[in-house]
Assembly symmetry: D2
Homo-oligomer: 179 residues x 4
C-alpha cells in the first residue's frame, strides 16, 4: 500500500468511527523492539523511545501502532518503525510472520499482564534489528540505546506503562538473555 493509499485509508475511518469500533472489537496492533546486532547476530543494544506522558512524566516506550485495512503486517511494522525512528533506520523486518509473542491489552487491568485503558488491543510483537541511523520522530523526545543488561534492570521496566516493560522482558527472554 502506498503512503497515499494509507492516507486515504485513514480517512475512511474517522476518529469518531474509530472510537465506536474501539469499544466493540479487538484492534490489531504491531509492536517492534528495535535492536542493534553484532556480526554474529547477538544483540548489543535495545532501543527505547522517550516520550512525555499526559501527566508530564517521562516514559520509555517500544515502537507500536495499528494495522490498517488491507495492510500486511510487515508493511505496518515498516511504517511504524519509519514513523518513530525515521526513514534512515534501515530496519531488517523479520522474514517470517510468526511473532515472538502476542500481547493482549485489555481495558480492564489484571486479565493479562498488559493493559490499555482506551481499548482491547492485540499486538503481534517482533524483534527488529536496525542497521541505519535512527532519529526520534514526532512527539518522541529521544531514543535511548541500552545494553541488554541495562534493559533488564527492574528500574527501567518501572518507567514503562501498560505492560511495555513486561513485553521488553519477554523480548530479552526470547533472545536468550538473563532477566
Amino acid at each position: 500500500m502506498s503512503p497515499a493509499d494509507v492516507e486515504r485509508q485513514e480517512s475512511w475511518l474517522s476518529q469518531e468511527d474509530l472510537a465506536t469500533v474501539r469499544g466493540r472489537m479487538p484492534i490489531l496492533y504491531v509492536e517492534a523492539v528495535p535492536v542493534r546486532v553484532a556480526a554474529d547476530g547477538s544483540v548489543t543494544a535495545v532501543g527505547l523511545l522517550l516520550r512525555a506522558s499526559d501527566n508530564g512524566r517521562i516514559q520509555r516506550e517500544l515502537v507500536s501502532g495499528r494495522v490498517l485495512f488491507h495492510e500486511r503486517i510487515r508493511d505496518a511494522l515498516l511504517r511504524h518503525i519509519e514513523k518513530d525512528l525515521g526513514a534512515m533506520a534501515l530496519p531488517q523486518i523479520p522474514p517470517s510472520p510468526v511473532p515472538f509473542t502476542v500481547a493482549e491489552y485489555f481495558p480492564t487491568p489484571g486479565i493479562t499482564a498488559f493493559h490499555d485503558s482506551r481499548q482491547h488491543a492485540v499486538a503481534l510483537a517482533f524483534i527488529v534489528p536496525v542497521a541505519g541511523d535512527c532519529a526520534p520522530q514526532q512527539d518522541a523526545l529521544d531514543l535511548a540505546w541500552l545494553t541488554p543488561q541495562q534493559a533488564a534492570d527492574p528500574a527501567i521496566i518501572a518507567d514503562m506503562d501498560g505492560g511495555h516493560g513486561v513485553l521488553l522482558r519477554h523480548a530479552l527472554a526470547h533472545l536468550g538473555h538473563a532477566i
Copy 2:
C-alpha cells in the same frame, strides 16, 4: 467471559455494524488445527470439518472464528472448538499465546497465500490436541480424521478454500511431517 456475556457482546455489534467495520479494519481471527496425539506427543490424525459450500460443493475446513471484544485468544479458541467439535472434545489449548503461524486473509487475491472475499482477516493459528469425543456441530456435515500422510495429499488441499489448504500444510510442516 461467560456465554451470557458473549451473547450480549455479539448484540453490541449488529450485523450491519460488522459489515461496515469489515470494510475498514482488519478483523482478528483464531484458527485451530484439531489433532489426535499419541502418548509421545506425535500426531496420529488431523481433524477436518466437512461443510457444504454456498454452491453445493463439499469443502474441508479447519476450526475458525472471530475474537470478540474483551475476549482472550485462549477463550476464543476454546469457544470456537466447542462450537465446531462439541462440548465433549476436551481440547488441550496451548499454554503459550504464540501461534505457529499468522495467516493474513485479504479481500484481494494474490497479496498473500490466503484470501477471504468478505474481509481483511488476520488469523492466529494454533495446533490443538483434542482428547475427547468430537461431534460435528451446526452446519458441519461430518468431521473426518486423516493421518498426517493423508492430510498432506495435494488432492485434500484442493478441497479447501481461501488458503485453508496452505494453512494445513503449514501446520504439518511445524509438526515436522514430510509435506
Copy 3:
C-alpha cells in the same frame, strides 16, 4: 526405543567414554518445565524438583537429561519426565519439535546465561503440561508446585544453579506471564 534398548545403549557408552566425549563435543540435552494447566490452557502451577546438592544445599531444578543415540527428542522428553516425576505423571509432550528456547551451557561461565562445569551441553527446552499424579523419584526430595507469580520471584531463581533460574523465567515469558 524400548527401555531394554536404552539400557543396552547406555552400556555402549561407558562412563569413561562419556567423560572423554564430554571434553570434545557438545552434548545434546532436553529440558522440561512441568506445568499444571486449566481447561483454557492457562498455566496454574509450575513444578520444581528439590534436590540436595553435593555441598548439602537444597536446590530447585527443572527436568533435564541427555538425548541418547537413536532416541527421538520426544522419547527423551518422555523418558526423563517419567524418570523424575514417575510413571503416572501423564505428560502432554508437545506435538511440535520446536523448543521454546535453546539453552547453551558452557564449562566456562559468562559466555551465555547458562553454565555447566562438567561439559558443553545444548538443551532443547519444552513446556510440558502434566495431567496425572507426580511423585518425585530417585534422588529428588520433593516436587514443589508454585504459581507462576511465585515462580517469578527472584528468591526462587537464586535457589537454582547453572542458569536453571534463567530458563524458568524464559519459560514464564514464553507463556506470557509478567516476570
Copy 4:
C-alpha cells in the same frame, strides 16, 4: 572462538574418534536456509548449493555443519555460512537462539522425515538473510537462487537428499509461503 581455536579443536577429535562417537551419540548440527529479502523482509529468493554426489549425480543442498566443542550455535552458523558461501556473504544471523525447526536425522530411514546413513544428527535449522556477495566455496559447483515459488516445486525437492527437500519446504511454510 578464533579460527585457530577451531583448528585446534578439530584436532582434538580425530577422524577415528569422530567415527566412534558417531555410532554412540547424537551429533549436534546447524542448518541454514540462505535467503535474499526485500526491504519489507519478504523473501525474494532462496539459495541452494549444487554439489556432485559420490555417485556423480548433481544434488541441491542447504548450508549444514557440525557444532564444535565450546562453540556457540550462532558462531557455528556464521562459520558454516562463510565456509559455503564465502567471506563476503554478509549473513544476518538471527538474534534469537530459537530455530524454526529441529530436524532429527536417523541412520535408520523412516523414523522421522530425515535420514543420514552416517550418523544420528540433530540439526537446529535457521532462515538466514544474506545481504552480500555469495560465491560457492570448496566442493560446491554453484549456488542457485530460486524464487520461493520455484523452490516449492516438487521436482526441486526430488533433487535433495536425506530430507533436505522436506527441510526446505518447512522453511517456506514458516515464511508463510504457499507450498
